[in-house]
Amino acid sequence: MGFELDYIFNPKSVAVAGASESPDKTGHTYFKNLLDEFPGKVYPINIRAPEILGVPTFQSIRDLPEDVDYVISAIPNRDVLDLVDACISKNVKTLHLFTARFSETGYEKETKLEQDMLDMAAKGGIRIIGPNCMGLYNPRLGISWGKGFPREVGNIGVISQSGSNGGDIVSEGAIRGLRFTKVISYGNALDLNEADFIEYLADDPETEVIGAYIEGVRDGARFAKALRYASAKKPVCLLKGGRTDAGTSMVSSHTASLAGAREVWEAMCKQTGAINTYSMDELLDMLVAFSRMSKATGNRVLVGGGAGGKSVTSADECEEEGLALQPIPDDIRNELTEQDPFFGPWVTNPVDSSIMGGSNLKPHEVIEFIAKSPKYDVVINTVSAGGPWGGHDPARQQRASRILEHTIGISQNLGKPVALVLSESIPESREQYEVNLELRHKCIEQGFAIFPSMGRASRAISRLVRYYIWRTAELEELKAPNSK
């Protein structure tokens, strides 16, 4: 369906029109990133500077010694028609326009320029990304708009109407262990639009999870169709920015008064299987859950909830999000009681390990022991190497590594989906800060999905489970002989 666009994401040569000598210009960053990492031919186009970063420049695309696949434009808008013409002469396949000030200004002249550019490009067989956008980040190929985006390839594909939100998804996501296949900032969606990109990522074999930041869609019906097509294959997590103004047209029926823009968007997500989020935090939580947890087939959860009241609030938060706190099954209970007749009968879910001091049960091992029961679909454990105040405590640090070790056991030996709750508060003591940072890195290296609170972990897991249930039913309907 969308994979014919693969050539757009895999050019063999790239030219940067408006490549700049000055390191604080985006036209410089694009070129430098390519020069450092892109394996194919890279050409800087600049009318004044004879060379950039030691590479001789060309005055125009027309002067290049051979054809070029992909052109990044960082030139002023007044020169774009000439640029498109030059691109046609070199058989350019894709033109990404960082260049802005087109229809987004709302002005007639700039809107017409944008349309003229599209018409010219279409005639010349050139596809456009943008204008008014950061373009492509493809770590496998070494194309990137950011300074210091991760070089490793991951399993998440992202589309973002906004460059800054797209960049935040990459960098905020990166510190939680997220890595990407392709990230596309697509701005005005003049030619290639959100539906094209969703269809492409749906068919892209290295993309396992899709994230999207979207303000408005060019063709709602096609977009909804693309989402449903994609959701049947892999999870799609959406963050909608802004609201459309539906209030201008007169509404005269009950239905129209109840089906406003927000209600329709939410209904569209539910119908297409897309996961609708309401903040960047929630979008990242969902990407963390889907890309770093194995598939959860049910909502029966085992929780390592921390000590005392923390276990109680953990239980509340899980149940409020629709997770089922499955009681300790009888066979497991019997085994625990055999090990310790006093503590065995007392253990509950959430597991409060603070009660086990002096017992035969090892607090850090108990949760792995219970998790082996097939009655649990998913596990949330809490790990902490020390609180925000009060300096460094080596005993707690040791306990944290033991908990981590046995949580690794749950995911590796038992193959169960696991989430880790790891506080994000910044300790007052520098030493403790270093310890916490090290623990965080270790959790990420081990492949864990980490969440800053039980509430956020349980919400993400609940939505993850609902998605897989939706998908199973969707695939059944698609298989049915009478399906459309």
Binding site: G220, S253, T255, A256, A259, M268, Q271, E477
Partner: protein, 232 residues
């Protein structure tokens, strides 16, 4: 009259709102069960129609200008015999002529008085980004106060139709709560799917309400209907 003719007739008269009789005719053609409703332009015709469809009947004013029919004395229900039909006809005509002398009157609709059932609403509207959507909810006051409705984009799959009736909070009422009769969910889903197919082929429809639709253990029927067309 075929749907295209109904729509072009309304447009030629400069109307975007179809009358109840037109709306029902259109929706019946779409495969949605509606209460049998006929337009009478004289007292005698009203009596003949009433006799042919059977008592009790309901009489309603049909005029593009009269939106709130009951408030103006334009509706008479539970009419049980010929002479009452005649009285109701005259009473409606004089009420409307008093309240809105300038209203153009198409006539008076005569329809079978439906047996009471569980009231739901089925509707459609046009979203500026996503096009036609179908809405389903509990009828009567509940839809307005509690906004207990579910929405799906057109086209709906059979699974979407199955979900839309089950997504509302009041769904247990449709299943037959505390011994009340269950509603015919299969017929509801079928009507919703038929509506979705109809809307796919009729982009010229902007909004519509089937409100109320009565649900019975066997079957459903739309008691009132209004259709609004897109401006050209």
């Amino acid at each position: 009259m075929a749907s295209a003719d109904l729509i072009s007739k309304a447009r030629s008269e400069g109307r975007l709102l179809l009358t109840e009789v037109e709306s029902k005719e259109l929706l019946e053609e779409a495969g949605i069960p509606v209460v049998e409703t006929k337009l009478a332009t004289s007292k005698e015709e009203a009596i003949n129609i009433a006799e042919s469809i059977g008592f009790p009947v309901v009489l309603k004013i049909i005029s593009p200008e009269v939106i709130h029919k009951s408030d103006m004395g334009g509706v008479k229900i539970g009419i049980a015999d010929n002479s009452s039909v005649g009285e109701a006809y005259d009473s409606i005509m004089s009420s409307i002529k008093n309240a809105m002398p300038s209203a153009s009157i198409h006539g008076i609709s005569v329809q079978k008085m439906a047996d009471p059932g569980t009231e739901v609403i089925i509707g459609a509207s046009t979203d500026p980004q996503f096009g036609h959507v179908v809405m389903f909810g509990m009828g009567g006051v509940l839809v307005e106060v509690l906004k207990d409705v579910a929405i799906k984009l057109v086209p709906l799959t059979p699974r979407d139709a199955h979900s839309i009736v089950r997504e509302i909070k009041s769904f247990p009422i449709l299943e037959g709560y505390r011994g009340a009769p269950a509603s015919d969910l299969g017929k509801l889903e079928e009507a919703i799917l038929n509506l979705s197919n109809f809307l796919e082929n009729h982009k010229e429809i902007k909004e519509l309400d089937l409100n109320p639709v009565f649900c019975y253990p066997n079957g459903i029927v739309a008691v009132d209907a209004r259709v609004v067309l897109e401006e050209n």
